[in-house]
């Protein structure tokens, strides 16, 4: 259960100061939610607030149960540390035995030999596998996923999906992905962020039509191309 009390927040998004929430009161019951918004660049910011990763400017957020980090967020792994050291950080933080955590991750990812190398030099796909594998190690009550869930035809994907399905039973999921199919595969309802408000919609398929998933690049493109259609002369 996540409760937002009189939450007001502003954020800088691509150089613009935007109002994210303005005195919002909201309750999110347990369930599996697809986070949808007309503006994809707001989704990580909303996830940070409702996941308790960043306090709002005003108001407060109460979370019942443990919350994962935003699994799959690529910037998480910008570190000089080696993969196994990062595993140990997570294991130490969540009170898990280091050996089990290390063995689990090395058994799951496709290239365990990278674990002893600095994360900086990892190929992006290995880093992404590692990111998702690590997300399975501690058991959480609320899972935040801020990336596309692995979907390619590989051993890692099959095993990860099977284990994640097991982890998700009875838990809350907030998924921000760029693929509607994944939203349908993992989520039961939509958590819609629109115009500073959060709403829960039960008809996910209909919501996916109302809020077609666009990349941040597309959304920003819309902003930078403003005025092109009307032939505004300040654009060359």
């Amino acid at each position: 259960m996540i409760d937002l009390f009189s939450v007001s927040d502003e954020c800088e998004v691509f150089g613009r100061e935007v109002v994210l929430f303005d005195g919002l009161d909201f309750r999110l019951p347990p369930g599996r939610y697809a986070l949808l918004s007309h503006s994809p660049e707001y989704r990580p910011l909303v996830m940070d607030i409702i996941g308790g990763l960043r306090p709002p400017r005003q108001g407060w957020v109460e979370i019942e149960g443990s919350v994962s980090w935003p699994i799959g967020r690529a910037a998480m792994l910008r570190s000089k540390a080696t993969g196994i050291e990062f595993v140990y950080l997570v294991a130490d933080l969540y009170g898990i035995e280091r050996d089990y955590a290390g063995e689990f991750v090395s058994s799951l990812i496709s290239r365990p030999e990278y674990l002893d190398v600095s994360l900086y030099v990892w190929p992006p796909w290995v880093r992404q596998e590692f990111n998702f594998a690590l997300g399975l190690v501690p058991e959480f009550d609320i899972y935040l996923v801020d990336s596309q869930i692995p979907s390619d035809d590989s051993r890692f994907t099959r095993l990860w999906q099977a284990l994640f399905e097991q982890r998700l039973v009875g838990k809350t999921l907030i998924l921000s992905a760029a693929r509607p199919k994944q939203m349908l595969d993992y989520c039961a309802k939509a958590l819609v962020f629109d115009d500073g408000q959060l709403e829960i919609e039960t008809d996910l398929e209909q919501c996916l039509e109302r809020f077609p998933i666009r990349s941040a690049r597309e959304a920003v493109g819309d902003i930078t191309n403003a005025g092109v259609e009307s032939g505004a002369d300040f654009l060359f």
Partner: protein, 453 residues
């Protein structure tokens, strides 16, 4: 079995086939009904190959009159009727039913085009021209549609599982089943041995300990030159300071020998500035850690500063120990006092680092000014000289700085022959309290602006 018995068995089979054909396709003449009955199996075999269809068409054409278009049309219609009846037994809307219909239509079209252009003998090995090229895209399309429909089926099943809050079973190949079992077992063991969760998912002390360990590992992964510089940096400044005193012919400052006086001042200052810079930098450089709910910028910054304080404790031991053995430095007079004041100066550095880091969150350019501020502070913090060396009227220039009080109190603890008259611990601790308060307020003010990376 004798030939007679064979003939009787064949006759019986033929008769049963004719009866079945008559029953299923009673409105057709018997010979066409038999053809239609044979076509039924084509629509229900599950086979992708078009060869059985071609074979039946050719066999039917050979066994019946086929000279005119009308005669051939009747044969084709009978086979199509049989195929339809065959697919009706399963799902007539299925992709497979559509494949069989399309394959039959393509074969008929090609045979008919060939038969109308030349005299054709419908021998068993006859293949109409262009058959393979025509059939290939049909099978390809069927496989694509089948894959899509399989995916739809998976999606439907998954949604059912999600709505029921059940685990959807992901199919894994047989050779991966043992891996899956092993991973499940590891997770179960990790969960079972996990430290009991009480309220918060991670007690603050555990989160701090985990971060300290991690930061220490990061420090170890720094380049060797950077680590060496923690020793060389103070040594270089110390040499400069000593040379100035020696050139002036001074070998002792207020009963403090110049080498040790210089060493203790410069090393402490290097620690102070490094703690500030590292704490400030970590507000931005380590924003990735803010993705963990346990960590805030101030926690990350303070642990980073603590790690550098720990690193400088090694530097002190190395310099004092090595220098003493080499006959350069003297040993501290009051060890607890020295350690206490070094820690106080380090903590003051942490507080300044948090203030600078907080400012840098709203003003990204600010860290560029930090070295200049630090140099200015160095001039008035009793690093180079203590206030007692200055004329009384100039002493306030340095004594406004709480750091000069700490530096002089540190030297008072270190040297037996020097007891600072100007340094006031109360002044230092009052200023230190304000510094900590300012750090707490500033980090609270900007906390919501620190976005996780």
């Amino acid at each position: 079995m004798s030939k007679t018995e064979d003939r009787i068995a064949a006759w019986r089979a033929r008769r049963e086939q004719q009866n079945a054909a008559r029953e299923a396709h009673g409105d057709l003449p018997l010979h066409l009904a038999v053809i239609a009955a044979k076509g039924e199996s084509l629509g229900a075999s599950g086979d992708e190959s078009a060869e059985p269809i071609l074979a039946l068409v050719l066999e039917s054409l050979r066994s019946e009159r086929h000279e005119t278009v009308g005669e051939r049309r009747r044969i084709y219609d009978a086979i199509a009727r049989g195929v339809e009846r065959g697919v009706d037994r399963g799902d007539p809307q299925s992709d497979y039913a559509e494949l069989r219909r399309r394959q039959l239509r393509a074969i008929i079209r090609l045979i008919e085009a060939d038969a109308r252009s030349r005299m054709v003998e419908f021998t068993p090995d006859y293949v109409p021209p262009g058959l393979a090229e025509t059939l290939k895209p049909l099978v390809k399309g069927f496989r694509r549609r089948k894959k899509l429909s399989d995916q739809k089926e998976v999606t439907r099943a998954r949604r059912e599982a999600i709505l029921a809050d059940e685990a959807y079973t992901i199919a894994v190949p047989v050779d991966e089943e043992s891996d899956l079992l092993q991973l499940r077992e590891l997770l179960a063991q990790a969960d079972a041995k996990r430290v009991a969760r009480t309220g918060a998912d991670y007690p603050n002390w555990r989160a701090l300990r985990a971060l300290l360990r991690y930061q220490f590992v990061l420090l170890k992964s720094e380049s060797r030159v950077a680590l060496l510089w923690t020793l060389i940096g103070p040594a270089v400044l110390m040499a400069l300071l000593m040379s100035v005193y020696f050139l002036a012919g001074v070998h002792s400052v207020l009963n403090m020998d110049v080498p040790t006086f210089s060493m203790i001042g410069t090393t402490t200052w290097f620690m102070f500035r490094n703690v500030i810079f590292r704490t400030t930098a970590s507000f931005h450089a380590q924003r990735a850690l803010l993705n963990f709910r346990a960590y805030s910028p101030v926690v990350v910054g303070v642990t980073q500063g603590l790690i550098y304080m720990a690193a400088y404790s090694v530097v002190y031991v190395a310099l004092i120990g090595g220098g003493y053995l080499a006959g350069i430095f003297t040993l501290p007079n009051n060890y607890p006092g020295v350690i206490f004041w070094i820690i106080c100066i380090g903590f003051a550095g942490l507080a300044v680092g948090v203030i600078f880091g907080s400012i840098s969150v709203v003003w990204h350019y600010f860290p560029r000014f930090a070295p200049a501020i630090e140099r200015a502070l160095q001039m008035v913090s009793s690093v180079i000289l203590v206030s007692e060396q200055l004329p009384v009227e100039y002493r306030p220039i340095v004594l406004w700085s709480p750091l000069s009080h700490a530096e002089q109190l540190l030297r008072s603890a270190y040297f037996e022959g020097y007891k600072s008259e100007d340094a006031d611990p109360t002044y230092f601790f009052v200023c230190f309290g304000f510094l900590v308060l300012a750090a707490m307020i500033s980090q609270r003010l900007v906390r919501s602006r620190s976005l996780p990376a």
